[in-house]
């Protein structure tokens, strides 16, 4: 086996030093009661080309562009990934290292994470960002738990138009602690209805996503005021951070904790993972923050360097009193994100975000002109909900046969939204692609 370098001669020489007669002897401490009866029932090793053939055949049974036109976002977005990002991310000094516990030999990862934290904090208008969590869903769960720790409140209010999967994960995390999740409904215009918050107390957090799951841009400033009036921390979430190339950032609007998914920033969709849990807050809450943090340091000669810091929040030091159980995070995805943002730049991000918005508006307009209902009136970024007429399911299936995925049916998440579909357009879709979609839907 090419990954196993030991020759018979090596094994013999090593056993000699150990003074053992065989490798089996080294397992003498494993009692019979713990041993398996027979050998592993696994097929013989595949050669590299057999493996490649097998996996290519599996990969061929996946619908991806350019064969398929997919107008679906919903937390996983199709953006162009520059070739440079993929190349640089393949540098094995990054890929094959681990958590930079020993800073002097890990300055590459550490400086890159410090830069990532800075870019994220600037994008979201927050004072500090951590070095990543797993995904947008666990980031929301961690944000709610952090708010519970800070305020001592036992319940949280969560908008019903936060990504349904994020809400489910938050539910999973909060259940054993006995914390209640109050759902805030959405209004006719697609934004969160804040009225149930009036007079509510004992809340640890109010959580709103913007753009929300329907693509609608929320009024975060008003939500922040409402949250703070009730003594809660204001948590904002996102699944499409590119929107903040254009939108007023959450920090400017009173967010205490911002969390979300960073896949949009150059990370392949990869059937849903690995993605990137982005997480930011204000400095006064930093000691309650989950996840790793990189900070600036100096060496013995006064030279600038970077280290993991404030680790007394973390499980390896604080154990059961830690702010989170997270150890391995999504460092390489954070690096991926930083490389992407460095490539796009501030000017580029603005332009790219505007293009996403404008293209989505184009499709929205064409569909409206074709007589389909735009379900919600609130302004949107690159996703929106369309209400199609009775019998559209047949059209949807027909389009699938033509290799077009006309958005995500919403009724499985929102039973009241039968015949409503969430459509997404990013910079990779051309006007021709969108015209073709409208044409096919109408035919």
């Amino acid at each position: 086996m090419r990954y196993l370098p030991h020759t018979a001669e090596d094994v013999a020489a090593m056993l000699d030093v150990i003074a053992a007669g065989s490798i089996d002897e080294l397992f003498s401490t494993v009692p019979d009661s713990c041993r398996r009866a027979g050998p592993l029932k696994l097929a013989e090793p595949m050669t590299e080309w057999e493996l490649s053939t097998h996996l290519s055949a599996l990969a061929a049974k996946m619908a991806v562009c350019p064969d398929y036109q997919v107008f679906m976002g919903a937390g996983s977005y199709e953006h162009h990934i520059p070739a440079t990002v993929l190349h640089l991310l393949g540098r094995s000094e990054f890929v094959t290292s681990y958590t930079p516990y020993q800073p002097e030999i890990s300055q590459g990862t550490l400086q890159a994470m410090y830069e990532y934290q800075t870019l994220v904090a600037r994008l979201l208008g927050m004072e500090v960002a951590n070095a990543s969590l797993y995904d947008g869903a666990s980031a929301l769960a961690e944000a709610l738990l952090m708010a519970i720790r800070i305020t001592g409140g036992k319940r949280v209010a969560v908008s019903r138009v936060i990504h349904p999967s994020y809400r489910r994960v938050a539910q999973t995390y909060l259940t054993p602690g006995g914390f209640d999740i109050i759902e805030l409904p959405y209004r006719a215009d697609g934004r969160t209805d804040l009225s149930p918050l009036d007079g509510m107390d004992g809340l640890a957090a109010v959580a709103i996503q913007s753009p929300n799951f329907f693509g609608c841009i929320e009024d975060l400033a008003t939500a922040a005021e409402t949250a703070h009036r009730s003594g809660a921390l204001f948590v904002t979430a996102f699944s499409e951070p590119l929107a903040y190339g254009l939108l007023r950032n959450p920090g400017m609007q009173g967010a205490d904790i911002v969390c979300g998914e960073g896949q949009s920033f150059g990370i392949p969709r990869s059937f849903g993972g690995p993605g990137l849990g982005m997480f930011a807050t204000q400095m006064k809450y930093v000691r309650n923050m989950p996840g790793r943090l990189v900070g600036k340091a100096v060496d013995r000669n006064g030279k600038r360097g970077f280290v993991l810091t404030l680790s007394t929040r973390e499980q390896h030091i604080r154990r059961e009193k830690a702010t989170s159980n997270i150890c391995t995070n999504h460092s390489l995805c954070a690096l991926n994100c930083a490389m992407y943002l460095a490539s796009v730049g501030g000017t580029g991000l603005r332009e790219l975000a505007a293009l996403n918005r404008d293209k989505a508006e184009y499709l929205k307009k064409r569909l409206a002109e074709a007589g389909f209902g735009i379900r919600f009136a609130a302004p949107t970024f690159n996703e929106f909900v369309v209400e199609f007429p009775e019998g559209f399911q047949t059209t949807y299936e027909r389009l699938l046969e033509k290799r077009i995925v006309a958005g995500l049916p919403l009724d499985c998440f929102y039973p009241e939204l039968e015949r409503n579909f969430l459509l997404c357009v990013t910079e990779v879709k051309t006007r021709d692609d969108m015209d073709a979609l409208v044409r096919e839907i109408r035919s």
Partner: protein, 484 residues
């Protein structure tokens, strides 16, 4: 004279991202505008983010230089205990980047993602076979999230019986994630001591096991690199009071093809695909932490689950007792592809991998015994734990020796863990390290022990060959500067 890997060389400086660049540059190609602008209302608009504008070349040089300040498994021996820094086969990365996998949307209709669902289903079956357990979820994104999933299942198991137990037994040798994961589920970790042999005694467990204990979390092999020989008896004790046995499988690399977790009495186990199954550690992730369970706990696994029916695959939510979802989608699929590729490439040779990992560790243990203090002198599994006890009088610490090892061209071992060994030096030389490489590591460690006697200042001021000398971590924590 032995030629160690480290050599002084040219290191290039590189400023922070925002210390370079010029407004108006751009490092990506933005598609031409083919639609009219449709501006947003003023009150929704923010300023463009304050990011530097860089050219493509600026970005390429920046990250190339940064990468050269790093050390990975591909650079050299990385004996970081408990982390299984084995070689990460390149073919696995190539497979994960096949466009059909890398570009797939997670919410596509099932008929359009049969390849991915099949891969997940088969990986679940492979992991079940390797562990000897019955059912598997691939959703957890890392080992710690796997632990949390396991704890949630223990909680759900008792809740389903109408009981709420408050404690979890956690040995003093456990990873910090264990008590932290238990606490997240509202359990109070009940710390128990391992015996003078470094393992758990059944009597210790019997003393604390009662009807308020939901279960036990055991790492086996444990973090001292020792096999918990009394595992079956301990499991029986816990089961008799209807507790559950959770095994932290972080150290599974020692025992593939040898142990059977079911026979061992384990109900729930998490694996780290980024340790045992060769997926890259990525500078701290992403990993993947599948959870394997015995039959009676299957109803509690996270949903959706992948179901196979006559060669067709679908996702099912029809498990009413499930703990729910722990990931937004299906878990870290890109990591699963790599682990699946690894298992198919290795087949039954996985057992050989474990045997050689254990051989390497015992070889290091025997070779360095006497040079460094060995607190538990017993046959070890895939890693061995020394301490700085013999260097104490020389006023040289574990940290000094770890830093000095960099000057020889190695990544340091895990230090000051496990906590039961003061000044611990935890060495894990995975099976992909050849005898020559392990010999060099041993020789470097011996040279450092010698230097501790002859020139201890060399160690106290180490490292000398890295991009930076020793960094002041205390000051960094006292006045945190977390953004620029």
């Amino acid at each position: 004279m032995t030629l160690f890997p480290a050599a002084p060389g040219l290191i290039l400086n590189e400023p922070l991202l925002w210390e370079k660049g010029k407004r108006g540059r751009c490092g990506i190609s933005i598609p031409a505008r083919d639609v009219e602008p449709c501006p947003l209302e003023e009150d929704l608009l923010g300023d463009a983010p304050d990011f530097p504008d860089l050219s493509e070349v600026d970005v390429v040089r920046h990250y190339t230089r940064l990468s050269q300040w790093n050390f990975g498994v591909d650079s050299g021996t990385y004996p970081l205990g408990s982390c299984t820094m084995k070689y990460n086969p390149k073919i696995n990365d190539t497979m994960a980047s096949l466009p059909g996998f890398a570009a797939a949307h997670p919410l596509l209709p099932e008929s359009l993602v049969q390849g991915g669902l099949r891969l997940m289903h088969e990986l679940e079956r492979l992991l079940a076979e390797i562990t000897g357990l019955d059912a598997v979820t691939l959703q957890p994104a890392a080992g710690a999230q796997g632990e949390l999933t396991g704890m949630l299942m223990i909680y759900a198991y008792h809740a389903n019986k109408g009981s709420r137990r408050s404690k979890i037994i956690v040995p003093d040798t456990a990873h910090g994630t264990n008590p932290a994961s238990a606490a997240l589920c509202g359990f109070q970790p009940l710390k128990v001591k391992s015996n003078e042999q470094g393992i758990l005694s059944p009597e210790t467990i019997a003393e604390v096991m009662d009807e308020d204990v939901a279960g036990i979390m055991v790492t086996n092999p444990n973090t001292l690199g020792l096999f918990e020989e009394n595992m079956r008896e301990i499991a029986d004790i816990v089961h008799r009071k209807d507790g559950l046995v959770y095994c932290d499988g972080a150290n599974m690399n020692a025992v593939m093809g040898i142990v059977h977790l079911g026979c061992m009495g384990v109900d729930i186990l998490h694996l780290n695909l980024h340790k045992t199954f060769s997926t890259p550690h990525g500078g701290g992730g992403p990993g993947s932490g599948p959870v394997c369970v015995s039959k009676h706990l299957e109803p509690f696994l996270p949903v959706p689950r992948v179901i196979e029916e006559q060669g067709r695959y679908r996702l099912s939510e029809a498990f009413p007792r499930s703990i729910g979802k722990v990931h937004a989608f299906h878990g870290n699929f890109g990591i699963m592809v790599r682990a699946y590729s690894y298992i198919l490439s290795m087949g039954p040779e996985l057992k050989t991998a474990s045997r050689l990992a254990v051989l390497n560790a015992n070889y290091v243990k025997e070779s360095l015994k006497g040079v460094f203090h060995l607190p538990y002198d017993r046959p070890c599994m895939h890693e061995c734990v020394f301490s700085d006890e013999l260097q104490k009088d020389l006023k040289v610490t574990t940290l000094d020796m770890a830093k000095r090892l960099m000057d020889y061209g190695f990544h340091p071992p895990t230090v000051y863990f496990p906590l039961v060994v003061p000044g611990a030096i935890m060495i894990e030389p995975p099976e992909t390290e050849s005898k020559e490489d392990v010999d060099l590591l041993i020789e470097a460690m011996k040279a450092i022990a010698r230097e501790a006697r002859e020139n201890p200042d060399l160690l106290r001021t180490a490292p000398h060959l890295c991009k930076v000398t020793r960094l002041d971590e205390v000051e960094a924590a006292r006045h945190p500067c977390l953004t620029g």
